[in-house]
């Protein structure tokens, strides 16, 4: 189980690195503009952004865990 967690960590790290660049490159300037110009819109989209990321990463870890379970069987 610990070995699979290590493998999961490597796969997850690669995924996060890619995701990280997507988020930062595509969202950074747009979010800064919204923050400066439309605080109410920024407040409304901030919460769904973090909830959406939590759901996405939860899905990824579940998928990896399922894959790990199948491998170890």
């Amino acid at each position: 189980m610990a070995l699979w967690l290590l493998i999961e960590l490597v796969i997850y790290s690669a995924f996060v690195a890619a995701y990280y660049f997507v988020v930062l490159l595509f969202l950074r300037d747009w979010l800064k503009y919204i923050f400066d110009a439309h605080k109410a819109v920024y407040a409304i989209i901030a919460l769904p952004l973090i909830i959406g990321q939590a759901a996405l990463l939860h899905f990824v870890t579940l998928a990896l865990r399922k894959l790990g379970g199948e491998k170890s069987n």
């Binding site: 930062l24 605080k39 901030a46 919460l47 973090i50 990463l57 870890t61 865990r65």
Partner: protein, 312 residues
């Protein structure tokens, strides 16, 4: 790299590592980790008003999946959680308004930093005292049990040195009185629930994070909620306070959502590692191992205040 919303310059790897470490602690100790995430952000040079708002956003992402797991296991008292919302939301707003007041007067960093230090040291001292008292109590109970014939060796009931306080609060007759059947409470004043929720909300809105360090002990020791239900219900409440806190602080210009998003990516895998570690290390002494962590957070804040050199 630059995070233009808060104007902070932070190495993203340090943010992911912080999220990972906080995630490990969350998975291992079952805590949100704002006692370390908040001080770490301040240490990285994030202004304190952004520390508070950003940590609230970060904690929402962390708590949603954990609360879902607790809900599946039936470990959330939804009636209690929904009643608490009526105290939590005004509490968060009061905390957020206090941050705005301090921002206008230009001393938000110092005041929040000192409040943080006071809370973190108090939490450590309380946890140390309570853990040691409880360990002594359970040792005495074990000795008494072994003297009795037919005593069950595996008592899984909650053992606490502060059980008497909740009983006294249950006797408080202040209408309206309600029942919490899921938590095994026949009658309790609604006001005691609202006061606990409001105080938790104020801490959450003023210091960021879920304020589990206040709400969890209050649920167990003051309201007498069983620990497994208190953990789940606290997580439900963290989503409410974090969700409302994120929106109201973002509206007030106190949330750098980019920092929260980057930090949260490390937290997800860290939480899994933390949960795995609990199968290797467990037992009542775990709570004692938790004691130095809020002190480490306080140390980070003192260092940052003293040196004035943010690390990015």
């Amino acid at each position: 790299m630059d995070f233009p919303i808060s104007g902070a310059h932070i190495n993203p790897a340090a943010l992911i590592a912080t999220g990972f470490f906080v995630g490990v602690l969350g998975g291992f100790f079952g805590v949100g980790g704002s006692f370390l995430a908040g001080p770490a952000l301040f240490f990285f040079g994030v202004p304190m008003n952004f520390v508070v708002g950003t940590d609230l956003a970060h904690i929402v992402g962390k708590s949603i999946t954990a609360a879902r797991e607790h809900a599946k296991l039936g470990q959330i008292d939804f009636k209690l959680g929904l009643l608490m919302m009526a105290g939590t939301i005004p509490g968060v707003e009061a905390g957020a308004q206090a941050i705005q007041y301090l921002k206008r007067h230009g001393n938000v960093d110092q005041v929040v930093a000192f409040a943080f230090i006071g809370v973190l040291v108090s939490v450590s001292v309380f946890m140390a005292w309570e853990s040691l008292s409880t360990l002594q109590l359970s040792k005495r109970q074990k000795r008494n049990k072994s003297n009795r014939i037919g005593a069950s060796p595996s008592g899984k009931r909650d053992v606490s040195a502060l059980a008497g306080i909740a009983k006294r609060i249950h006797l408080l007759e202040l209408a309206p009185m309600i029942g919490l059947p899921k938590s095994g409470i026949k009658r309790i004043s609604l006001w005691s629930i609202l006061v606990v929720a409001f105080i938790g909300g104020v801490f959450s809105g003023f210091l960021g994070g879920g304020a589990g360090y206040i709400r969890m002990p209050a649920l167990v020791y003051l309201l007498g909620i069983p620990t497994h239900l208190a953990v789940g219900t606290d997580l439900f409440e963290v989503i409410i306070s974090g969700g409302y806190g994120t929106v109201t602080h973002a509206f007030k210009g106190n949330v750098d959502i980019l920092i929260a998003l980057v930090m949260h990516t490390g937290g997800v895998i860290g939480a899994q590692l933390g949960a795995l570690l609990t199968s290797y290390f467990h037992g009542p002494r775990i709570r004692l191992a938790f004691v130095p962590l809020p002190l480490a957070g306080a140390g980070l804040i003192i260092y940052t205040l003293y040196t004035g050199h943010p690390m990015g």
